[in-house]
Amino acid sequence: MNHVLDQKDFSGLFSENLKFDYEYDPASQILRLDAEHLPELFALLAMDERLAMDYLRDLTAKEQPEGEFHVVYNWVSIEHHHTLMVVAKVPESMEVLSATQYWESANWMEREVWDMFGIRFAGHPDLRRIYLEETVSFFPLRKSFRTLPVENVRDLGGSERELAKARAKAAKAEKEPAGDK
């Protein structure tokens, strides 16, 4: 789902310009495709007057339960006030095209995705880790990476329930006469 005020239907525009397999849902404004086709999509989004997606507001990635990775883009057109979310499936080579040639804001966001997921961006001017040191060997946001469980972090919901139970017990004990057991 994608909160949009006036949802425009781009189906005609996409079917006219995109000559590959894709999935488009006008209700939620989400476009799903394979990452190999991103060059054509970028050119369309940046160049087409009717789309004019000039503001790349978010770029991130996610790992699917099956182990494949998706890169997620969120665009908005400040000129036309419409939005679009693109979910691109990352190929086996873990390399997709960088969006920095059209949108400079992708620079740091792509570095973050590389840092956290280990997805490479071809054509990025300066692809280094951004949060962690260069020498780190793991990618923290992959599901295969697990943080060490720490014993003193309690399950908040559970402990609250236990506390409520104990209180109720105490109140009950107070209400009843002292000698009664």
Partner: protein, 203 residues
């Protein structure tokens, strides 16, 4: 301290050197505890409460501590306010080493006490006391400014017990005299190993 070292410190209690030294201790401790200049080092959320403590309502300057020094060379007390990540911990340690003796450390907030809400994270140091000797812990997430002021007053009480006399329990240059560094707690080994995985040398 050269003058004082020359005296016979084993003289029986009540004789003149002891008396003189006790009053010198008293004068210097009064001076020290009333002019604790903090280092401006805010790391995260607690820094905001630290700034609030220095602002008009809580006014840390009543205790003569409003002289926040930007340079560690001129500071007396380091208030570690906020989450210490492994990446920052190495820097915090270096800044601590740049401060001149006598120096004190206040650990402000759950994160620098024990890791707090981020204790299960892959990049957060679980307590600044794994790498530095801490004088006062201020609990809270974040502690209120009153709590920080209370922590500072607790530190003042600690300073009151210091002495300039060697071979006494509260001699302030205990470690420096022996040329050794304060030993790290046993839990520190785990943290140093975890930091090494993150590419940071903490030892």
């Amino acid at each position: 301290m050269g003058l004082i070292d020359g005296h016979n410190l084993d003289a029986p209690a009540g004789s003149m050197p002891g008396l003189a030294l006790t009053s010198i201790d008293w004068v210097i401790n009064v001076a020290r505890r009333n002019s604790l200049w903090p280092l401006t080092m805010g790391l995260a959320c607690c820094a905001i409460e630290m700034i609030c403590a220095s602002a008009a309502r809580y006014d840390i300057s009543r205790f003569g501590m409003e002289v926040f020094r930007p340079s560690p060379r001129q500071a007396d007390v380091m208030i570690v306010a906020g989450t210490v990540t492994y990446k920052m911990a190495a820097r915090v340690k270096r800044i601590y080493e740049q401060m001149p003796e006598p120096k004190y450390v206040i650990s402000m907030g759950s994160c620098s006490n024990s890791g707090g809400i981020h204790a299960d994270s892959y990049s957060v140091l679980r307590g600044i006391d794994k790498i530095l000797p801490v004088d006062v812990y201020v609990p809270g997430c974040p502690p209120r400014p009153e709590a920080l002021l209370h922590g500072l007053m607790t530190l003042q009480k600690k300073i009151d017990r210091q002495t300039l006399r060697r071979n006494k329990p509260n001699y302030i240059f205990e470690n420096r005299r022996e040329g050794e560094i304060t030993p790290l707690p046993p839990e520190a080994a785990v943290e140093i190993e975890a930091a090494r995985l993150m590419g940071i040398d903490l030892s």
